[in-house]
């Protein structure tokens, strides 16, 4: 069983980012969208944590583009069709509302 976790809040504002990383299972994946993509700001502490975590990391391409952020080589940028496919590849989706 695997879960696709989805974060959309800024990693700097509250406990979602930390709690999500804490309960992420080995088979799980993480999708960053909205302000959660600020976690891919190079030099930031979330960036370093994600890089060190070595997890299955996806990011919604439109949100990166809007924020002038790049996709690091340890993450994969996807569009909505990719989002739909990811939600199917995993057994469930846990969005951190």
């Amino acid at each position: 069983m695997s879960t696709l976790h989805v974060l959309s809040h800024s990693p700097f504002g509250d406990s979602r980012f930390t709690s999500c990383l804490r309960v992420l299972g080995e088979q799980d994946a993480l999708l960053l969208c909205g302000d959660a993509t600020y976690a891919l700001q190079p030099g930031s502490s979330p960036f370093e944590r994600l890089q060190a975590a070595g997890l299955n990391l996806f990011v919604l391409a439109e949100d990166l583009q809007a924020r002038a952020l790049d996709t690091p080589d340890w993450a994969e940028a996807i569009n909505y069709a990719g989002f739909v496919e990811l939600s199917i590849e995993h057994d469930k989706v846990n969005t951190w509302l």
Binding site: M1, S2, T3, D14, S15, R16, S19, R22, V23, L24, G25, Q27, D28, D91, K92, V93, N94, T95, W96, L97
Partner: protein, 120 residues
């Protein structure tokens, strides 16, 4: 067989209707005899602090709804140990009986066990 649902409640009790509306999903599921679990995570653990006084803010008492969970057949209740410790909430004195105190790896396993998850 009915699909199971884990609701993860992350909201403090006095921050608007969010905690209550999360609980309403759980109670509705219980009323339909669906297999439902409830995990208190992050600020959600503050819902369980004892001795809270809803009247001070002219609010309805959320703890009455929490106490009703077993009557609605919702008996799988979980608390994140890290969240409680970070907020200085002693797990020995929580407002509900029969709570399972879980570590982070246990929560990962819990999420894995349920068919669907809602985190509010």
């Amino acid at each position: 067989m009915a699909k199971s649902l884990l609701l993860i409640s992350r909201q403090a009790p006095w921050s608007g209707p969010s905690a209550r509306e999360a609980l309403d999903i759980v109670l509705a599921g219980g009323a339909f005899d669906l297999p439902i679990g409830l995990l208190f995570l992050d600020d959600g653990v503050l819902q369980l602090a004892s001795g809270q006084n809803a009247k001070a803010l002219q609010q309805k008492d959320l703890s009455a709804n929490l106490q009703a969970l077993p009557m609605f057949g919702v008996e799988d209740l979980y608390v994140c140990a890290d969240s409680a410790a970070e907020r200085g909430v002693a797990t020995a004195a929580l407002a509900l009986d029969e709570l399972n105190i879980l570590s982070a790896p246990q929560i990962a396993a819990l999420i894995d066990r349920y068919d669907q998850v809602i985190t509010l």
